[in-house]
């Protein structure tokens, strides 16, 4: 019976710890900032656990000891009083040392975090919208400035500077595997430096409640070797692929005739809306609607047919389309690699 219970406990713990790895975990750091923070988390937790155990022991031991019988409880006992005083003062002193020590540790950790991006070569402007992320790559050459959404590609092993702001309410940018969180505040620019040690996909999540679809406001950091990153940037700068099939051609025309054109931009076409995600290379992304759906033809159709069913309250209205119109638009968007 006891064996069974301990096996069950071990299995439960193993399952529980599973949650600590993967593409979104502060306990599984994949960059210098997250490593620094993970180390702090473990150190604080460990030290506080030791203090807690000691305090509990100090409480439990006297409770369990049989109290000595005093003949006269009110007699003064100078040596025992002195001992008590010394014990209490030592505890107070140790508390002060621990608190100051932890404060210093977090201070120096903060300095390390701030130094990560001091030589960042790449600056990305991330703007929070209800409920998606606008991502703009800055460049000294205006024609190389790139705007995309929800997916942030970075070169692995290089520090990257993120400039965070918002157009509506306060959001918070948090990619636990790479760094701590920082708010996106309307009218203010916050700076967050990140670095991914190795190529990989790291999930991020809005971490400040921002309305109905806060939970479905995810983002992805895709760290790639430098050459691959440069190739990606060059691809994304290209205007949208011209439709080839008749169906896709019809879809492209419909996109311009229907409400889609009021909100979305597709580079190389008259669609120039800036209030919704840029769709120039929508099919090259891995997810739809800020990590809500994986990218596929079916999900694209589901989203366009009924965005309010997928993400109720999202700022994309249901557009009345016939089945054929929907298919045509999906065929068009699906080819925008």
């Amino acid at each position: 019976m006891k064996r069974l219970a301990s096996i069950a406990f071990a299995t439960a713990m193993a399952l529980f710890l599973q949650g600590c790895a993967g593409w979104q975990s502060a306990l599984d750091p994949k960059g210098p900032a997250a490593s620094e923070l993970a180390w702090l988390i473990w150190f604080f937790t460990g030290l506080c656990a030791v203090v807690w155990v000691l305090v509990m022991a100090a409480l439990a031991v006297p409770l369990m000891m049989r109290s000595r019988q005093h003949a006269e409880p009110l007699t003064l006992d100078a040596s025992s009083d002195n001992r008590k005083l010394r014990v209490v003062m030592t505890a107070v002193g140790l508390t002060a040392v621990i608190l100051v020590g932890l404060t210093l540790l977090s201070f120096f950790a903060n300095r390390t975090l701030a130094a990560i991006g001091s030589d960042a070569a790449l600056t990305i402007r991330v703007t929070g919208h209800q409920w998606w992320w606008e991502v703009r790559y800055e460049d000294a050459t205006p024609s190389r400035i790139l705007t995309t959404a929800n997916e942030i590609h970075i070169p692995a092993g290089e520090p990257v500077r993120l400039l965070l702001t918002s157009t509506d309410v306060i959001h918070s940018f948090w990619v636990p595997s790479l760094s701590g969180k920082l708010d996106l505040i309307p009218g203010r620019m916050n700076v967050l430096d990140i670095k991914a040690d190795k190529p990989g996909v790291y999930r991020g999540q809005c971490a400040e409640f921002c309305g109905a679809q806060h939970a479905n406001m995810g983002t992805f950091i895709i760290a790639e070797p430098r050459a691959k990153f440069d190739a990606w940037w060059n691809d994304q700068l290209q205007p949208a692929a011209a439709p080839t099939s008749d169906e896709a051609k019809a879809g492209g025309e419909l996109f311009l005739k229907r409400p889609c054109v009021m909100c979305h931009k597709i580079g190389g076409t008259p669609a120039g809306g800036t209030v919704a995600p840029d769709l120039t290379h929508i099919a090259s992304r891995q997810t739809l609607a800020a990590g809500t759906l994986t990218m596929s033809r079916g999900n694209l159709a589901a989203w366009i047919a009924d965005p309010q069913g997928v993400k109720p309250g999202a700022h994309m209205p249901v557009v009345d389309l016939s089945g054929d119109e929907l298919n045509a638009i999906v065929a068009y968007l699906e080819a925008l690699k």
Partner: protein, 177 residues
């Protein structure tokens, strides 16, 4: 027994306020698409034309959610480009008590959907019908034609005019009755 009745009464009072906030984000096809004919002339036998009515008008005009959505879309669809923030520019002012084509929800809806001859573009296929109703409700709030309990309150950015819920009530022109 008594407390239960009191509780029920209280609950029904509290729920009555929910209509203000009700959030219909899907088109209400049961209410139709608001397809009333647009008048092409002001010449009418007998003068006044009977105003068309639409079921949708009522469900949009006193609803805080639709009004604030309308406010957001007014900026998104660049109505301000021609109407400024309601003060008027190339297009007429929308925050005064003068209406060229009528102040009802139905006529403003028709204005936005079908356009008007002297330069107001038609947004028929460019804005889904429910969003046109939201815009119409918001346009009315600019001139104090929406209940102040539902109209949008202060802006987050620069205020071009008093917030919509502080506009003088159009019915009484701001004077207390």
């Amino acid at each position: 027994m008594r407390p239960v009745v009191a509780l029920l009464l209280f609950a029904s009072l509290a729920l009555a306020a929910c209509q203000r906030e009700e959030r219909d984000t899907r088109p209400q096809s049961a209410l139709g698409s608001g397809e009333q004919p647009t008048p092409v002339t002001t010449l009418e036998p007998g003068g006044q034309r009977p105003a068309p009515t639409d079921n949708k008008a009522a469900s949009f005009e006193a609803n805080a959610f639709h009004l604030s959505e309308g406010k957001r879309l007014f900026g998104w669809f660049n109505c301000s480009g021609c109407h400024a923030n309601g003060g008027g520019g190339m297009g007429p002012a929308l925050m005064d008590e003068k209406w060229i084509y009528g102040s009802s929800m139905e006529s403003i809806h028709a204005t936005i959907r079908d356009g008007r001859p002297n330069g107001m573009p038609s947004f028929r296929d460019k804005i889904p019908d429910d969003q046109i109703w939201e815009l119409a409700a918001f346009v009315r709030s600019l001139s104090g034609n929406a209940p102040s309990s539902a109209a949008p309150s202060r802006n987050d950015d620069m205020m071009a005019h008093p917030s919509e819920n502080r506009m003088p009530d159009a019915a009484t022109l701001g004077k207390s009755p």
